[in-house]
Amino acid sequence: MNELISILNDIRPGQNFSKSENFFEQGVLDSLDLTALVAALESRYAVFIDVDEMTADNFRSVTAIKTILERKGIKLS
């Protein structure tokens, strides 16, 4: 959890990610941040996120990110 927040903070410093329910609708992240987030998650967890998974919905909140990572076998506490 803290690790995810730290990755998100690297992409957009100074945002309250843990409280946001939809990063994209609330303007916390934009579509370019989504690409940076995918690259950062892939590099940190050695996973591959395919083009059809790169949707705002899959990365809209900390819970959503945890869910997609779990689908790829990465369990975050």
Binding site: T35, I49, V51
Partner: protein, 576 residues
């Protein structure tokens, strides 16, 4: 002056794909210079290059980065790749015309900014095409893109402020895919994040080089850094250095790389825990040493703390520790220097000796946009300074010492030939600098060419050698009042009354141009104490900006000559 504002540059990115990720990396990088970046919408390269009233220019950038892909920017390259051209030779001809057109548009835009950076064209590595034909003359895309890059290099040479960056080398050193087809499908981002990170690091390095902020001094350890083994234990004949020992070969290669850096103006010094006399005798007598004592401008070979030794070396060379790079095989020594002197760049050295030379060659901290005669002679100049100091230490009397030096100062108006070095001095000098104004070559030349503005350069020499162009002064004349704008002197000539001669000459020039009063506004910067102290003694009263002519004179020990035109190119385009 705020140091951050002083070194903030505005950068406009334009390309045929989305470059925003590069912009964000450039802005977040904490290394100098700080950048404020705008990425123009992709696909508007020609509109931006050709139209000075395009909204992208409202940002008023100092630097323009034009990063395009050959298969997107040159339609005929795409046709060749997909076998859609009438014939391969026709596609080649058309693509080269397109490359020329692009180059001319970049040249046109270059007059609007101080610096243009253009990553060279590289075909994506997944475009294998037909290996047997890709380099075939007039046929293959590899052959075509190489020629197109040569056209860029040739056309860009018309303007000194355009730099063609070697983007192919960024990809080679990456070790992972440089392209990400998913990101292209999602957001028209052609390159992978890792390539953007590499590009950002290289662009920052080039901009630092352009501002004269590259590193100037390497401090080397000896044991297991310049040679394999511990010479104090193993003895001169048993250290690993040179053939046929494979480890010795690696250290020999590392020394050759260091020697190359020394030859182009990076100063080499030693900091080692050893017996000084013995270590120096090894350096001068070991048959496989590439570097000899004469290649080093200073050393601290003793049993003291290394950070303390680095401080002493910086003082001896009169250079800031932020221009130092510390190379030492010991993680403990590196850690200590990092903690005590964070301003010194202390990279981790590779553990394998075989990686030492490639590692040093790959460092981008010694970047520069030009090489001048000054650079090639730098080590000799510093060695001459050692000679001067030794004479001073023997004699002790300052006046006699100054007389014995036979100092000569040659003053000349700023010229195209001296511009590269003058701009380098202006941007590099922190200590003896009146205003801390930083300007690139083009802006400085433009400023000096304005009516009422005058700029002068000063070459200093003495009986020990030539210091080269080490002084710069400029003033702006308004009616009968001249204001000193720049008064900059290299730390190499400090303490020899040269500054008195420079001020004497500049004030005389201002008076002969019609000034009755010469003003100097000394900026209170973090490191320009020497300039502040010097000017404090020159004013009528302490809260006055007007210089009192009674305190300005050319010292009797210094011979000042006005230089007549001497057509000696300072900027070297090629090694000679």
């Amino acid at each position: 002056m705020n140091n951050k504002t002083e070194l903030t540059r505005r950068v406009l990115l334009t390309g045929d794909t989305t470059l925003d990720p590069l912009g964000r990396l450039l802005e977040r990088d904490q290394e100098m210079p700080h950048l404020q970046v705008t990425a123009a919408p992709y696909g508007q390269v020609y509109q931006i290059l050709l139209d000075a009233s395009h909204p992208a220019w409202e940002f008023k950038p100092d630097v323009l980065v034009v990063w395009t892909a050959p298969q997107l920017m040159l339609p005929s390259v795409e046709k060749l790749l997909r076998f859609a051209a009438g014939s391969a030779p026709e596609a080649h001809e058309a693509a080269l015309r397109e490359a020329e057109q692009f180059a001319m548009a970049v040249v046109q835009a270059a007059s609007r900014v101080s610096q243009v950076l253009v990553p060279s064209w590289v075909l994506p590595n997944y475009e294998r095409w037909i290996q047997a034909l890709t380099w075939r003359q007039g046929i293959g895309p590899a052959n075509l893109v190489a020629k197109a890059n040569l056209i860029l290099a040739e056309k860009f040479s018309e303007r000194e402020n355009i730099v063609l960056l070697d983007a192919a080398s960024w990809q080679l050193g990456l070790g992972r895919p440089a392209y990400d087809p998913r990101m292209y499908a999602v957001a028209k981002i052609l390159y992978a994040q890792s390539l953007f990170a590499k590009a950002a690091s290289e662009i920052k390095a080039v901009l630092r080089g352009a501002l004269g902020q590259g590193k100037k001094v390497i401090v080397c350890d000896l044991d297991n850094t310049l040679w394999g083994g511990v010479v104090g234990d193993d003895g001169l004949n048993h250290i690993k250095l040179g053939a046929p020992d494979s480890v010795g070969e690696c250290f020999h290669a590392f020394q050759k790389t260091l020697k190359g850096l020394r030859s182009r103006g990076v100063l080499l010094t030693i900091c080692s825990k050893n017996d000084e006399q013995f270590a120096l005798s090894v350096i001068d007598t070991h048959p496989a040493m590439v570097l000899r004592k004469s290649d080093f401008v200073g050393w601290r070979i003793n049993w003291k703390d290394k950070a303390e030794n680095l401080v002493a070396l910086a003082k001896e060379l009169n250079l800031g520790l932020d221009s130092f790079v510390f190379l030492d095989d010991s993680p403990q020594e590196r850690d200590q220097v990092r903690q005590v002197l964070p301003q010194v760049y202390t990279p981790d050295l590779p553990v394998s000796p075989s990686e030492l030379a490639p590692f040093l060659s790959s460092l981008n901290c010694f970047e520069t946009v030009s090489l001048s005669g000054e650079d090639f002679q730098r080590t000799e100049m510093y060695q001459a300074e050692r000679g001067r100091q030794e004479v001073f230490e023997l004699g002790g009397d300052v006046e006699n010492w100054l007389n014995s030096l036979q100092i000569e100062v040659r003053a000349a108006p700023l010229r195209r030939e001296s511009l590269a070095r003058a701009a380098q001095l202006l941007n590099k000098t922190n200590q003896f600098n009146l205003s801390l104004r930083r300007l690139d070559e083009v802006s400085f030349w433009d400023w000096a060419s304005e009516p009422g503005n005058s700029a002068f350069t000063f070459n200093v020499a003495d009986r020990f050698g030539d210091f080269g162009l080490t002084g710069l002064a400029s003033f702006s004349l308004h009616g009968t009042e001249a204001r000193l704008v720049d008064f900059v002197m290299s730390c190499r000539v400090m303490g020899k009354k040269v500054e008195e001669a420079l001020l004497g000459y500049t004030v005389a020039q201002a008076r002969s141009a019609g000034a009755r009063q010469v003003l100097a506004n000394v900026v209170n910067g973090p490191r320009n104490g020497p300039a502040q102290t010097f000017f404090a003694t020159k004013f009528f009263t302490c809260d006055d900006l007007a210089i009192d002519p009674a305190y300005v004179a050319i010292p009797s020990q210094i011979r000042l000559k006005e230089e007549v035109f001497e057509p000696k190119p300072v900027l070297l385009a090629v090694y000679e």
